[in-house]
Symmetry: C2
Subunit: 167 residues, 2 copies
């Protein structure tokens, strides 16, 4: 089982790093994809390495998709190859865990209509406009989709995300 993160510069550091280390703790291989391979820098200055571009990703190799927040999703949502990855996960019913601004990627991929979800408060309007059933709770689970609002929700987000990782 491998997990895939979609991100870019200006990621919210803990929203990427906490799930990343949590999955590694559980022995899960993690890849980070971005516009191009190489170093990504978070809002708080942490650096991570993207191992591949969105174009290079084979979605079928992964069992979990993680969409951290921060400023990164505003850039990622403009990338057709990133949206295609998200659509492939939904088409196969595979788990997708999105936090904070992460659901913006699902909005642009037109995957959120009719789904119960949450997100960062400032994103809630566009989430509702996209047809989602917005809920102001620490974590919302709807089928394959796990969503949370902010770093303070990470414990609940991790708990639901890890239920979807095969032991």
């Amino acid at each position: 089982m491998k997990a895939l993160f979609l991100s870019a510069d200006h990621f919210e550091d803990t929203e990427l790093l906490v799930p990343y280390y949590r999955l590694k703790e559980a022995g899960v291989d993690v890849d980070i994809a971005s516009m191009r391979p190489g170093k990504l820098t978070g809002k708080h200055g942490y650096e991570v390495e993207a191992s591949k571009s969105f174009d290079e990703v084979k979605a079928e190799e992964y069992g979990l998709l993680v969409l951290p927040g921060g400023g990164a999703p505003a850039a990622v949502r403009k990338e057709p190859a990133a949206l295609a990855i998200a659509r492939a996960f939904f088409a196969d019913g595979k788990p997708v865990a999105a936090i904070c601004h992460g659901p913006q990627i699902l909005i642009s991929a037109d995957l959120i209509k009719g789904r119960h979800a949450t997100c960062y408060s400032s994103v809630s309007s566009e989430l509702k406009d996209a047809g989602a059933v917005y809920e102001d709770r620490e974590v919302v689970v709807d089928g394959n989709l796990v969503s949370a609002r902010s770093p303070a929700d990470l414990p609940a987000f991790l708990r639901e995300m890890m239920k979807r990782v095969p032991a």
Copy 2:
């Protein structure tokens, strides 16, 4: 079961926040103690709230002690009340998880002599001078003591730390 962190300003953000969220994920109550109650700011700008001073801590209320790194341990190690907390955990054989510069607190508390341990590379000399058996590995376990070197070791550190948390 409750866990206690000893820290101060200039903590290494991920070394505090990643174990903190991990314990909360598992339903563990976590307190952070410092010189005085109030806001602590990490090297990367994250803020956490210390709920009590070292003086106010009753070590017998806690089942796990976590010592994150960064610049904080250099200040914490000068506080006799913090050293007394560490000694109480060792006296009762309760688990202590220290990462990076965190073991400096154990050096000042005179708790490291003869113990197998690791730490941030620049701390290794004083760890050895204090009588520890230094090992350059991602995580070292010796009885109640779990130690690791740096943020990159967090997955292994969490894995061993969580084994010592009652389910």
